[in-house]
Subunit: 352 residues, 4 copies
Amino acid sequence: MIVVMKSGSPEPEIARICTELQSWGLTPEKIVGKHKVVLGLVGDTIDLDPLQIRECSPWIEQVLRVEQPFKRASREYRHGEASDIVVPTLNGDVHFSEHHPIVITAGPCSVENEDMIVETARRVKAAGAHFLRGGAYKPRTSPYAFQGHGDSALDLLATARAATGLGIITEVMDTADLERISEVADVVQVGARNMQNFSLLKKVGAQDKPVLLKRGMAATIEDWLMAAEYILAAGNPNVILCERGIRTFDRQYTRNTLDLSVVPVLRTLTHLPIMIDPSHGTGWANFVPSMAMASIAAGTDALMIEVHPNPSKALSDGPQSLTPDRFDQLMKELAPLGKMLDRWATPVPALV
Amino acid sequence: MIVVMKSGSPEPEIARICTELQSWGLTPEKIVGKHKVVLGLVGDTIDLDPLQIRECSPWIEQVLRVEQPFKRASREYRHGEASDIVVPTLNGDVHFSEHHPIVITAGPCSVENEDMIVETARRVKAAGAHFLRGGAYKPRTSPYAFQGHGDSALDLLATARAATGLGIITEVMDTADLERISEVADVVQVGARNMQNFSLLKKVGAQDKPVLLKRGMAATIEDWLMAAEYILAAGNPNVILCERGIRTFDRQYTRNTLDLSVVPVLRTLTHLPIMIDPSHGTGWANFVPSMAMASIAAGTDALMIEVHPNPSKALSDGPQSLTPDRFDQLMKELAPLGKMLDRWATPVPALV
Amino acid sequence: MIVVMKSGSPEPEIARICTELQSWGLTPEKIVGKHKVVLGLVGDTIDLDPLQIRECSPWIEQVLRVEQPFKRASREYRHGEASDIVVPTLNGDVHFSEHHPIVITAGPCSVENEDMIVETARRVKAAGAHFLRGGAYKPRTSPYAFQGHGDSALDLLATARAATGLGIITEVMDTADLERISEVADVVQVGARNMQNFSLLKKVGAQDKPVLLKRGMAATIEDWLMAAEYILAAGNPNVILCERGIRTFDRQYTRNTLDLSVVPVLRTLTHLPIMIDPSHGTGWANFVPSMAMASIAAGTDALMIEVHPNPSKALSDGPQSLTPDRFDQLMKELAPLGKMLDRWATPVPALV
Amino acid sequence: MIVVMKSGSPEPEIARICTELQSWGLTPEKIVGKHKVVLGLVGDTIDLDPLQIRECSPWIEQVLRVEQPFKRASREYRHGEASDIVVPTLNGDVHFSEHHPIVITAGPCSVENEDMIVETARRVKAAGAHFLRGGAYKPRTSPYAFQGHGDSALDLLATARAATGLGIITEVMDTADLERISEVADVVQVGARNMQNFSLLKKVGAQDKPVLLKRGMAATIEDWLMAAEYILAAGNPNVILCERGIRTFDRQYTRNTLDLSVVPVLRTLTHLPIMIDPSHGTGWANFVPSMAMASIAAGTDALMIEVHPNPSKALSDGPQSLTPDRFDQLMKELAPLGKMLDRWATPVPALV
């Protein structure tokens, strides 16, 4: 932490601040510049708030954090090694990691009925997906829109898993539902709107299932890693970071702005694996294939793609869903790129 | 709802779409333009998603919503009349409404101990505040930062109320805490980070205490009113909208961008009362007085201002807190403006 | 400037960097922290780019600027004193300064014809305005939209000045037009879209007329002050900063987000006077009065308000224009507030 | 254009509006909905401003544009066919088009001296680039930063062209410099900060050299296409659109947010070719390779990459520049992907 004093700060005031900071367990070292005095704070500063230090004196101009505010999420925490999050499924272990093939998650926005979810699961499995996504509880902007079938949808996801062996990813919106959801889900999703629902983060951090943490619409990369830090600090080391588009000034042709540069940025900051969701990221099915290709080329560890057997009848998010046929074709388009980068799995043969 | 067809759409396809939309209970009326055909949809469209209609046919170019997606929150719902939310306090009824004096809420970011909260309550009461704000449960970006004293802080808020007669506003972060909080709080706050925590919105909508709904950092005005709609639709008509700054590209000198134009905009859209929080809105105590003045001049119904007896020792958000002395002075600065606009209450004499 | 080394940086590399920076005329002072080494650079750093220093070594983690990158625009440059920009007009000197009455600029987006501009000038003069605004050259998003009447409009502005004694503010878009414009204009405006047109900034800095510098749609406050610095560095000390709304994620109900917090922020950073344009800032006439009130309460030094005799027939920006009657009424609403703050001029009696 | 009337609009007022709009050459068709009346306007609306129509009556609630405001830039204008912009160079014709190999532009931010620019040109040529980029006139945020060597730098670019046969791309900032620049440049660049410098757009539209139009930092895709429309409407059909990152709320780890979804979006909207600049788009050399790969996978027609022989000594933008060695390696990484997509040219053998 670096404290920059205003020019003209009186010497006794600087001395007073140094004494104050020493009482906080820090060792201030003073640099006398041409115009300004700067104090470097040596000591354990991760739980210090720069804003709080600033309040020590009206003569303080700025307080600059030199160290990252996240610890367990940082790449250094694992000495530069990437995490390898292993999720057991009926079809075998699936690894989320930069040293393994790209994990494909596909399925509808929401679980509508048994036929629909099982049929979708079979189709995406046949096309090469490893996980089925599907919402039982749905965060919807309008209280008048379909809110998900809830518990009964969880049963249908279990049925789809039994039928295909796919792993299940589904979203938790309320701490009260977590126990039921984590019985069915192989990976528990925290959605973009709940990325800073800290009560929920603590609870998913206190259970065993891996957590898919979607980036909030206005979350900086640092905010996002701090949200991951909540889960890690609560004891769950298995967090997958999912970019799904951020909110910017231009929302006319895409619903969000997919920020693919998170891939190289996160690689330098964290050991956690990265997923990209081009379906929410663009909001339109016809932009998904191009952005899925780009995600793989950028180096993502996983993809999440919405697939619905009949998008025009979807109870939610139809316009961004691919049909099973289009998804099948997309997987064929992605495979050569995945293979070229040595990150593509040979599809698991379907269960009977 | 207006459906715009791509130029060159085949007539039979248009006919097919009309039939489909009729099966949804709508009456399509066709306009044949120079280049394009447009369908106006007559019927009940509030729970229709424009995106879903768009999926009916690849020949549909755009679907434009003509009616607002919120109903109970709309100004029309009360035939143009403003809401008057009456909150009983020991000092008498307080009205949140454009036809009453501006309601002043003040207090610390978080409740730290009994002396501090009671002392702050006395000071802000003496200066003319009607409500005491203070966090028992705190949403903090870092898991290593102070998270609030929880239940015991609720008891201290009750003590401060007994000592001063002020109403109490405090934040709920978890549905599991709601019951305890609503026993103490006169107004329950939903924070910016939980503005689209729909489970929480439904729960605060199903209890009786008025709800202060802070605008999310990246929430459009429409998103915000839809969040209010969740609470209203769940049965609680008493929602106060609080602007606390949005996230923009410039965060160097203020932590958020306070969007004061919400005051005239919300007046045209909704009957709900409006509060402005210049403390979070700017993030720095020295910018608060200017923005508090501007808020009143813009026409706000209420203000929320952070006050801490010793900002440099605050466990959270110190830099944006005024000292009690500065708050006292601010109230004296605001009073002539409030009186000029005929929206300033004579301070209630202090309880013994 | 502060250089933060990565943890584990080798000592010889740090020594090498220090030698390199000494060769740039700087004196590095080293702080050895618990995890990291930090170098404080003492010397003249205003023209150094932090990014360039960072390139000295892959072991450098961050370079933090401690001093502001603007010099002539800074409040310190005038030892804390506000500028007083005096513009002579036929009606007498007008002062743009925090120690003088608020300057009111009003008029149409573009000059359409003689009757219209002279009539508008008379009306806004009668209501109390000091300056007439009106575009001769108009920046329009579409090449098919009205682009302004150019030179002939300048003549009409001169006519309106002669008729009313008002000062004239008009926009320059092209360096080639500057000479003609500065013959007529009392204040030359650089528009938001040209805020970083550095060729234009240098040219308006090399002529004598005061410059009204509008903030760019995505300009940070620092970008804006650096744009002012271009003009100041080119020799023209008379720059007025005009906030006109920034671009954010929410553009549904207002065309821009008016950032009123610039008023207190700029006061601490710069000696330059501040103008607010609530007409562009909101984009809708019915939101202008509330935001004009708020601007004055926030402490602005000047206001710019669009007025058009017949907004529905305006060749540009009709929806944000007030009628002369509404402007007259607005001035009556603003006056008590301006007087209360001791910043309102007694209207100059109209010329015959 | 669709006009939505407020609910309760009086019939005579609707009739009056229809008459008014007919006088503008439009044919209004009325739809009477359950709550509202909607008017569809048939006729030539491309040069109509929806805002202006709205001003016709206070009873108008919204005016929605149904047709795109750009014409010559639209995909329909060329009946769905992509443009093929052919630029003759000493090494042969280079095609910017979705049906040709990806065009690679590389070089330093600014031209510093003859050795540096010729050496860089040779190196990027050898690695497979088709164009040399290099700034003679530089837009710099600070007036105290290096502003480019101007005219003399143009001569050095000509020397580098003669030495390597590469085409030259350089930026024009001032209409006064255009003639000299277009003598040397094979493609004239309009930078992000001048994207809405309409005077400049008209001038580059009135000369013959193809124009590289960078997206403004806060420009929507529609704004950007309207800027292209200015050039096209002035007579120059050869415009290349270059995405270089937009400004968002997160600027901590990347200087801008590279919006790769423009690739599929622009494909559906326009016939113009697309270039991606990952160097400005991210601001850091180590993020460039990943984003260059992603750009190709997304389907870009061209790439612009900053290369500097000694980034730490660069007079501008060093941190985002690759060394020639790193660029050489990057081209080897990109080639297999380019070939897989059938969009990679066999490098032209170097001139002696």
